[in-house]
C-alpha cells in the first residue's frame, strides 16, 4: 500500500509549485529563449541595430575550422577530466572505505577540495605550475630537466587544466562512491571472502556492479561539470591559450559574448553547446543506463 496525500482543492497544488515554476521560468526558460532568439540575429550590444539573419551565425561557426578544433578540444578535455576524476575518486573511496583508524577524519579531509571554487583551484594550481613563478615547475625544470612551459606548449597547457579541473572533482566523486559503498551489504563481501575471492575479484564482481547507479550518475555530472563549470579554471589559468590549445566551447562563448560583445556569435555557440550536452546526456541514458543495475 502506498500512502498518498490527496488534495481536495484543484488549485492548491498549482499554488504550491508556483514559486518553483516562477524561478525556473525567469532564470532558465526566459534567458534560454533570449539566447535562441539572439542566435539567429546579428545585433550590436546596445540594441540599436538588430537584424534577423536566419542561420548565418551557425553557418559562420561551422565553416570555421578553429571552431571545429575547439569542439575537439572540449571533447578531449571533458573525457580526460571525467576519466581522471572518476578513476581516482573510485580508487580513493575504495581505500578510504577500508581505512581502520580515523575514518571520519580521513573522509572529511578528502572531501575538502570540493569546497574550493574552480577559479581558486585554477589560481592554486597556477602558483604550482606557472613557468615563471610556479614552485613545482621550478622543480620539474631543474631536477627532472623537462622543458615544462604551459604558457608556450599547448600540450602542457591542456595537461595542466585537466589536472586542475579533475582535482576538485575527485572529492565530489569520492563522496558519492563512499556513500554507495556503505550501502553495499557487508554480508555479500564477507561471503565472497569466505569463498576465497581475492580483494580485486570482490571489487570487480560485487562492489562495482552494485556501485553502477552511482557510477552512472557521477559520469553524467562530471561531463556536465567539465563542459560548463571548468570555465573558472580556464579563465584563471590559460585564457584559452597558448595558440587556442585550451579554448573549450564554454570559454569561447564567454570571450565572444561577454568580452567581445558579439552577442549573435556567442548565442549561437551557446545553442550548439546546449545541443551537444543534450545529445551526450541522452546517449548516456539510452546506452549506458541499460547496463546499470539498480537494486530495489
Amino acid at each position: 500500500m502506498i500512502k498518498r496525500s490527496v488534495f481536495t482543492s484543484r488549485t492548491l497544488p498549482y499554488l504550491l509549485i508556483l514559486p518553483q515554476i516562477v524561478v525556473t521560468l525567469t532564470f532558465f526558460y526566459w534567458p534560454a529563449v533570449q539566447g535562441l532568439m539572439q542566435s539567429v540575429m546579428r545585433s550590436d550590444p546596445f540594441g540599436g541595430h538588430s537584424k534577423f539573419i536566419w542561420f548565418d551565425n551557425f553557418i559562420t561557426l561551422f565553416t570555421d575550422p578553429l571552431y571545429m578544433k575547439s569542439i575537439g578540444i572540449t571533447l578531449l578535455f571533458s573525457a580526460s577530466v571525467a576519466a581522471v576524476s572518476i578513476s581516482l575518486g573510485l580508487f580513493i573511496a575504495t581505500m578510504a572505505n577500508r581505512a581502520l583508524k580515523a575514518k571520519a577524519v580521513v573522509r572529511m579531509m578528502l572531501i575538502w577540495p570540493y569546497a574550493v571554487a574552480p577559479a581558486i583551484s585554477g589560481i592554486l594550481w597556477l602558483f604550482l605550475l606557472h613557468p615563471s613563478y610556479g614552485v613545482v615547475s621550478y622543480a620539474i625544470r631543474n631536477w627532472l630537466h623537462i622543458d615544462w612551459n604551459p604558457v608556450l606548449w599547448g600540450s602542457d597547457a591542456i595537461f595542466m587544466v585537466i589536472m586542475a579541473s579533475a582535482w576538485k572533482e575527485i572529492s565530489y566523486n569520492f563522496v558519492f562512491f563512499i556513500a554507495g559503498m556503505q550501502a553495499i551489504p557487508k554480508s555479500l563481501i564477507e561471503a565472497a571472502s569466505i569463498d576465497g575471492a581475492s580483494p580485486f575479484r570482490r571489487f570487480w564482481t560485487i562492489t562495482l556492479p552494485l556501485l553502477s547507479p552511482t557510477l552512472f550518475f557521477v559520469t553524467v555530472m562530471n561531463i556536465i561539470y567539465s563542459f560548463f563549470e571548468t570555465f573558472g579554471v580556464i579563465h584563471t589559468m590559460t585564457q584559452g591559450g597558448p595558440g587556442g590549445a585550451t579554448n573549450i566551447l564554454v570559454y569561447k562563448v564567454y570571450q565572444d559574448g561577454f568580452i567581445g560583445l558579439n552577442l549573435g556569435a556567442s548565442s549561437s555557440q551557446s545553442v550548439v553547446l546546449m545541443t551537444l550536452i543534450i545529445i551526450i546526456t541522452v546517449l548516456q541514458f539510452k546506452y549506458v543506463e541499460k547496463k546499470v543495475q539498480y537494486t530495489g
Binding site: R42, D44, K51, H130, S132, L152, L261, A265
Partner: protein, 442 residues
C-alpha cells in the same frame, strides 16, 4: 481673458517657486561607473570629493563596477534597461563599439552645448587622437592613458659591461639584439620579455614606424577596413623576435603582464617591455636590484620615429538624461582636466597628465628630476605630432582581433607557424571579424 492670464501667471509663479525650491533643496546626482579599484579607486574618490566640495549644485557618485569588461557590460545592460549612468569608463579597444552605439553624447558636443570653450590644442595630442572621430572631434574624454616603455636591470647591465640607456633617444632593435646577446654571455638565462605582445610588438611597433595597421587610416575612415599587419616590415620584426626566441634573447612569458613581470623581477631576463603602469608594480616588487626606464627600441631605418600609441580607458557620456544633468557632467569633466587634478592623478597613478598645462607645471616643479622614470613615456608619446597612422586604431571587434594576434604569435613562438603564415592568418581571421562587425552596423 484677464482671468485666464492671471491663472497662467499664477501657475508659472507656482512652477518657478516649486522648481527653484527643488534645485535649492536637492543637488543633481551624476553617476559615474568606473573600473578603478584599490589604490586607483581611492584616487578617483578623492578627485570626486574635490568636485563635490567645490560646489553644491551637483553630487557625483562614483561606483566601481568591476574590471573593464564588467564595467562595459554593466553599461550595456543599464542602457538597454534605460537606467544608464551619466558617465561610463570604457577601455580603448571598445572605442569603435562605443562610438557606433548611438547611445553616447560626444564629449566635444557636450562641452560646446554647455558653453565651455575648450582649446583642445592644450591637450596631449596622441592621447586625444585615439578618441577622435575622422573629423578630429573628440568623442570621449581620455581618463587613464599609458604607453609601453622598456625597463632594464641596471645591475645586470653593469655586470655585462653595458652602458646605461638614454631616456629620450631610443636605441635600435639591432642594438637591443647585441645587448641581449651580451646579457646572455654574462650568465643571465634570458634576454628580454614583453607584456601585452600584440599591443607592444604589433600595434605600437606599427605606430612608431608609421606602418599602417589597417587600411582606411587604421579604420578611422570606414568600417570596410582590412588589417595590413602581414606587411614585410611587421613580419620581419616577428621573424627577428622568433630568431631571438630560439637563442633565448627573447623569452615568452605569456599574453598579459604577470608572467613577463615575474621573469624580470626574478632576474631571469635583463629587459622588460611593458606599460608605464608597471613603474608602480616594479617599485613595489623589486627589492634586490636597480632598474631604469628607456623608450622602446626603433629600427635603424626609421630616422624620425613617430609617437607610440596609448592604452587605457576614456570616459563616455550616455544620452538620455536631463539637460540640467549634462550641465553637471560638463562641469565635472572640466574639473577632471584641471591642472591640479591631472597632476594629482599623474603623481598617484603614473598615468599621463592629459593637458600640456599640467605637464609644464610638473616640469617646473621639478617632479621629473625626482621621478625621471615618469617622463620617458610622456616624451616618447609627444616626440612628434601623430600622423593619421600613428594617431590610434579604430577597429570593430578589436578585442577579438587582439586575441587572434596573440594566438597566432604564440603559434610562431612554439614553432607551429612561420611568421609570414601566422601574420597572414591573423589578418585573414581578423578581416572576417571586421566584416561581421561591418554588417552589424549596415
Amino acid at each position: 481673458m484677464k482671468v485666464r492670464k492671471i491663472v497662467v501667471l499664477c501657475a508659472v509663479a507656482v512652477a518657478v517657486i516649486f522648481l527653484s525650491g527643488q534645485v535649492m533643496a536637492e543637488p543633481v546626482t551624476i553617476n559615474w561607473w568606473h573600473a578603478m579599484k584599490g589604490a586607483r579607486g581611492k584616487v578617483v574618490d578623492t578627485m570626486i570629493k574635490a568636485f563635490n566640495d567645490s560646489q553644491s549644485e551637483y553630487v557625483v557618485v562614483g561606483t566601481y563596477k568591476g574590471n573593464y569588461d564588467e564595467t562595459v557590460n554593466a553599461g550595456v545592460a543599464a542602457y538597454r534597461a534605460r537606467k544608464q549612468p551619466h558617465i561610463l569608463q570604457s577601455f580603448e579597444v571598445g572605442t569603435q563599439t562605443m562610438m557606433l552605439s548611438g547611445a553616447i553624447y560626444p564629449v566635444y558636443k557636450l562641452m560646446k552645448d554647455e558653453g565651455y570653450n575648450i582649446d583642445w590644442k592644450g591637450y596631449l595630442q596622441p592621447v586625444l587622437s585615439y578618441y577622435m572621430n575622422a573629423n578630429g572631434d573628440l568623442m570621449s574624454m581620455p581618463f587613464n592613458s599609458s604607453t609601453p616603455v622598456m625597463y632594464y636591470n641596471v645591475d645586470l647591465f653593469k655586470k655585462a659591461g653595458l652602458p646605461m640607456l638614454d631616456k629620450e633617444t631610443p636605441i635600435t632593435w639591432d642594438e637591443l639584439g647585441e645587448i641581449t646577446a651580451k646579457l646572455l654571455k654574462s650568465g643571465v638565462p634570458g634576454g628580454m620579455v614583453t607584456g601585452w605582445q600584440s599591443w607592444t610588438q604589433v600595434e605600437n611597433y606599427s605606430a612608431i614606424h608609421n606602418i599602417p595597421f589597417a587600411s582606411k587610416a587604421n579604420g578611422y575612415e570606414g568600417l570596410d577596413c582590412e588589417l595590413l599587419i602581414n606587411n614585410p616590415k611587421v613580419v620581419n620584426h616577428i621573424a627577428m623576435l622568433k630568431d631571438w626566441f630560439d637563442d633565448k634573447r627573447f623569452v615568452y612569458g605569456g599574453q598579459k603582464y604577470q608572467g613577463p613581470k615575474a621573469e624580470f623581477i626574478a632576474q631571469n631576463v635583463g629587459v622588460y617591455i611593458d606599460s608605464l603602469s608597471a613603474i608602480a608594480k616594479l617599485k613595489a616588487g623589486v627589492k634586490d636590484f636597480k632598474w631604469d626606464v628607456a623608450p622602446l627600441p626603433v629600427e635603424s631605418w626609421m630616422k624620425n620615429p613617430q609617437n607610440s600609441i596609448i592604452g587605457g580607458a576614456s570616459l563616455w557620456v550616455f544620452k538620455g538624461h536631463d539637460k540640467k544633468d549634462y550641465k553637471g557632467v560638463a562641469a565635472f569633466l572640466k574639473h577632471l582636466s584641471k591642472p591640479e587634478m591631472q597632476i594629482y592623478w599623474h603623481k598617484q597613478t603614473g598615468y599621463f597628465p592629459i593637458t600640456l598645462a599640467a605637464y609644464e607645471q610638473l616640469k617646473k616643479e621639478g617632479y621629473y628630476d625626482e621621478q625621471p622614470y615618469q617622463e620617458v613615456g610622456v616624451k616618447q608619446l609627444t616626440r612628434r605630432d601623430p600622423t593619421i597612422i600613428s594617431r590610434g586604431l579604430r577597429l570593430g571587434y578589436f578585442i577579438q582581433i587582439r586575441n587572434i594576434i596573440n594566438e597566432e604569435l604564440e603559434l610562431v613562438w612554439n614553432g607551429k607557424k612561420t611568421p609570414q603564415e601566422a601574420m597572414d592568418s591573423a589578418a585573414a581571421r581578423s578581416n572576417k571579424q571586421l566584416r561581421e562587425f561591418e554588417k552589424t552596423y549596415q
